[in-house]
Symmetry: C2
Subunit: 390 residues, 2 copies
């Protein structure tokens, strides 16, 4: 018994010593952010020597009568802990950071972060409504894999993709439909999984019966790189925004499809294929579907960077009228356009719709509040998925 | 032409606007850390208003005559950028953070981070020797998947694992050997991939012909949780160290093996199975191999938390002499013990070896410098993998 107690004691010592190599260990009891039942959120930072601490976030108050400013000052208590509680916030995924004496820092008590190009951002979820779709629920979960595929037409020859296979895929003999889901400028194959919460949205909508079980393939739309930063032998460079809208990625997309159809049990026809993307990825979806006009039965343009006239880098818009005609001859089940009224690409999308209207091509149009934001792109994905493969 | 230029201009605007939702965007040109060809490293932080900036890291100088202190002060230049350059460092993966006016912060210019329980740590790699194994090289890459498996004997019923399948697995018809690789206290199914760099080490050793192509299954050794923090419907709680050495995870391990053998093309016998773990995971490997004495042909105990006498929580050590005898009757191809001379578990491992020696059981013993550190555990993995399945 005494020995057991000694062992217990020894085992307890293991915890603080579990990683001597760790140069900084948060052993504190500070909880930040703390999301309360009413949707208000408390931020805390232990910084007794600081002179000022602010929180900066993309907050939206649940009740306009109780607005929540995007920047707020924290108050220092006697224990050296700065704290601030917001008004109740609308159900959403929020990003924030602290500013301590003028220096922007991450919240050291929050391990949950997303990356946007070269910036890490703390995040939290206020549930209770739409953002419940972004949280992990007690439902069957799909498998998420990081996969390398051959891409002989690009410089790196092999490239990285993220693949979501729905719960049940591995134990089934069925063929599954595939959504190719493309990121925007500055993003990469991780963007829809991280900031887009695509795996959670899929798990939840499929479990609710709102979306068909489907494979989702998230590629890297920048052929200058084989993968997201730090995930290839290009090394751990500082990420930077890469614009790739000259057809070089788009024209390699046949390699993606043939790899996916070779490796996974897929429905190998337009009725089982969708392509959608945000911003630059909306342009990619536009371009790829024009050039492979019978490949996709469902096309989604989220805040798409489309300029639907001739020209463009590498002539990517050349003959787009003829190509649109060919595409719509094959009568895609869904041609979907979504954009926010404040999006800087709004007018380009007005022009695209005008062309579609003039030619009499059917499409679905969603106009939302807000601008060129992940908040909108998550909304569009939640709206788009139930329309596929039905 | 004019329109093309306008489009180019519009496209360039997309970059800064690509994520209006981002509340903090690092648009700076600060590169930190910068690893130089000689292994010295420059740190930089833009903080013109700060009064003092220090870097704290687990540095090891390449040349003892030019030592590198673990804490060093940065110097402010006229542009408001603090900077410091280390002595040349030995090839290694290093962690560090900054301290600004007494507050520990992450390096805002470095997006590469690892998590240890509730702490995020910046890291970088100094290559040129052993740490080249931790970097991603231009070799074929395996697939890394996050997979949910049924675990009816545990409270969560389904649990999460990470699975590495080697390059070529999907295009082959062969059965593959499997290494079950277990984390320590405070870790989870992500630990060996993140801090352990297991996927990179496997890609590199397999490409060099030093290790056999193998499947590697990384489980979560804390049955109190279904997954790593934030990866299950338990939500985005603040991570805390979980000790689980009472047999409750270990006794569910048959569920892991039967899932893996059902889903993957595996060699379903001891010659094609290995189990290894660090610290608490070393205890798990010890315990599981004792209780499934004909299942694993290769057993690895890295800095293992073994107290090889009777008793223990839940009687996990009961009858261990008899169980060891049964295990060694089946003549495992490898029984591997590795520990650092400064490890606080060193004496327990001396005692384990004494027992093995007295009984005349063969084993391989590696004694290294240092203590209970990921640095050692990565070294042990690199040493262990080539000994498997040969």
């Amino acid at each position: 018994m005494k020995k057991s107690l000694l062992f217990l004691l020894a085992a307890m010592i293991i915890y603080p010593l579990a990683a001597q190599q760790t140069v900084h260990r948060d052993r504190g009891t500070i909880i930040s952010p703390e999301v309360h039942a009413d949707g208000s959120v408390t931020f805390r930072l232990e910084a007794p020597a600081a002179e000022s601490v602010e929180v900066v976030g993309d907050f939206t108050a649940a009740d306009p009568a109780r607005p929540q400013p995007p920047t707020a000052s924290l108050t220092l208590n006697q224990e050296g802990v700065w704290h601030y509680t917001t008004a109740p916030l609308r159900s959403e995924l929020y990003n924030y950071h602290f500013v301590v004496d003028g220096l922007a820092i991450k919240d050291p008590s929050n391990v949950y972060i997303q990356r946007d190009i070269a910036s890490l951002m703390n995040y939290f979820i206020v549930g209770g409504a739409k953002a419940d779709n972004y949280a992990i629920q007690d439902v069957p979960h799909g498998t998420v894999a990081r996969v390398w595929y051959p891409s002989p037409s690009t410089e790196s020859k092999t490239r990285r993709m993220c693949v979501y296979t729905p719960a049940g895929y591995e134990d089934s003999l069925c063929d599954y439909p595939v959504l190719y889901l493309l990121h925007g400028m500055g993003g990469d194959e991780e963007a829809w999984l991280s900031t887009g919460r695509a795996a959670q949205i899929l798990d939840n909508l499929i479990a609710q019966g709102k979306a068909e079980p489907m494979i989702v393939v998230m590629t890297n739309g920048c052929p200058q790189h084989a993968s997201a930063p730090g995930e290839s032998h290009e090394g751990m460079y500082k990420p930077y925004g890469v614009r790739s809208m000259d057809g070089s990625f788009e024209s390699s997309f046949g390699e993606v499809i043939s790899f996916v159809d070779g490796r996974y049990r897929t429905i190998r026809s337009a009725r089982g294929r969708a392509i959608a993307g945000l911003s630059m990825g909306g342009f990619h979806s536009f371009y790829i579907s024009l050039n492979l006009p019978t490949t996709f039965g469902h096309i989604g343009l989220f805040s798409a960077a489309v300029r639907p006239t001739s020209g463009g880098i590498g002539g990517v818009y050349d003959n787009s009228d003829e190509k649109l005609a060919t595409l719509f001859e094959s009568a895609p089940a869904l041609y979907y356009i979504a954009i926010g009224r404040e999006d800087f690409l709004y007018d380009h999308n007005v022009e695209l719709r005008r062309r579609l209207d003039e030619a009499g091509y059917p499409y679905t149009y969603i106009e939302s509040e807000g601008g060129h934001t992940w908040r909108n792109w998550r909304d569009y994905l939640v709206d788009f998925l139930p329309r596929l493969f039905r």
